[in-house]
Amino acid sequence: MTDDRPDSSVDVEAAELALGLLDGDERAAALRRVLSEPAFATEVERWRLYVAQLFDLWPEVEPPEGLIDRIDLSLGGPSPIRARRLPWPMIATVMTAIAAMLLVVVALRPNPTVPPAPPPPVPVGQPAPPPTSPQPMLVAALGTEKPVPAVFEPATGRLRLAGSPAVAAGRVAQLWVIGGDATPHALGLLGDGDNALVLTGVDAARLVAGATLAVSDEPPGGSPQSTPTGPVVATGALRAV
């Protein structure tokens, strides 16, 4: 569908992507451009911010009473009412301890791209605090011809890929995530066999249902810049299961 472009001298694909006008193959093609053309990615971001001005004008509607309680309950753990009165310092201490433990686990993994890592030790002994939220696993199928399954466990930050999309000889496969900001963020390099990456902080937070995982073909060591430099060889959207 290129013949119906009334004015091919003006490229409005970034605006189309930012507004959400595209679907199917056209959307996939635009997302590939985001990955491969930094200027295009910047343009999409610019449009996204322009369009966001309209949020100020969006009519407000009060949600039903009690919905916050349902949401709060589904986060698990102590309710904020109790938490505010008593055990915050304790929770904070426990959380800090858990964070420290996780840091050790992460630090002990020399290279997150070394496949296949054994499952991480499950902390036992102390009664585990209730999870802070029910976190469904996320899955994606990368590529179409020989899709590579990817599974992400938000609770542990482990992202596993059964294999890796093929790249040219002497090149490496680099994994990216593209979320609501329409900007590719590097997650790591993939080895030939199965891959297990442990994601933390901002990287882990970017993996949500609806975000896209993408693999690009890069020189050894990965892309020399913050966006992909080689062709994108596979993409797949994350879905909650």
Binding site: I71, L75, R206
Partner: protein, 189 residues
Amino acid sequence: MTAPRLSPDAARTRLAETLVKVGSEDRAAFRDLYDLTSAKLFGICLRICGQREAAEDVLHEVYLIVWRRAGAWEPGRASPITWLATIARNRAIDWRRSAGGRPTTTLDDAPDLPDLTPDAEAGLVAAGERHRLVDCLAELDDRQRDSIRTAFFDGVTYADIAARAAVPVGTAKSWIRRGLARLKDCLDR
């Protein structure tokens, strides 16, 4: 909402501070964030989902995402409400597309959409802040402006817009693309 109205700048600062606290897993701040933002986000979910029950479920999911991702919000990049509203709009669109249904075109209890003329904007805009996009939209012809408005507020694609207007997709694309090109021209000025 009986809280006294804050100035837009103060409201934004308060929202940013609340979001940062949510990022450090502060459950009380999470409830505050809900009080400050749920009417806007529910308005978004309701408009796009077209059904109350679905909109409530999507809003629920949106706040779970916010709880998990608040730590990744970077102050100074997107404004907090833009960040939150974008999550809500994207989730609502995802829901509607996965539900496979065409968007409901009429919604009994959803308020009317703003008409996107500079006049309508006057009362809403934060002091000293220009809504360039609204100014530029005003330069388009009605059909182009309406299509772009529908795309944003209803979260619909070219195919949906064409179906609603009962025209071939190519036709809808062609007038919207012309509108976007004019918009781009205006915004670049």
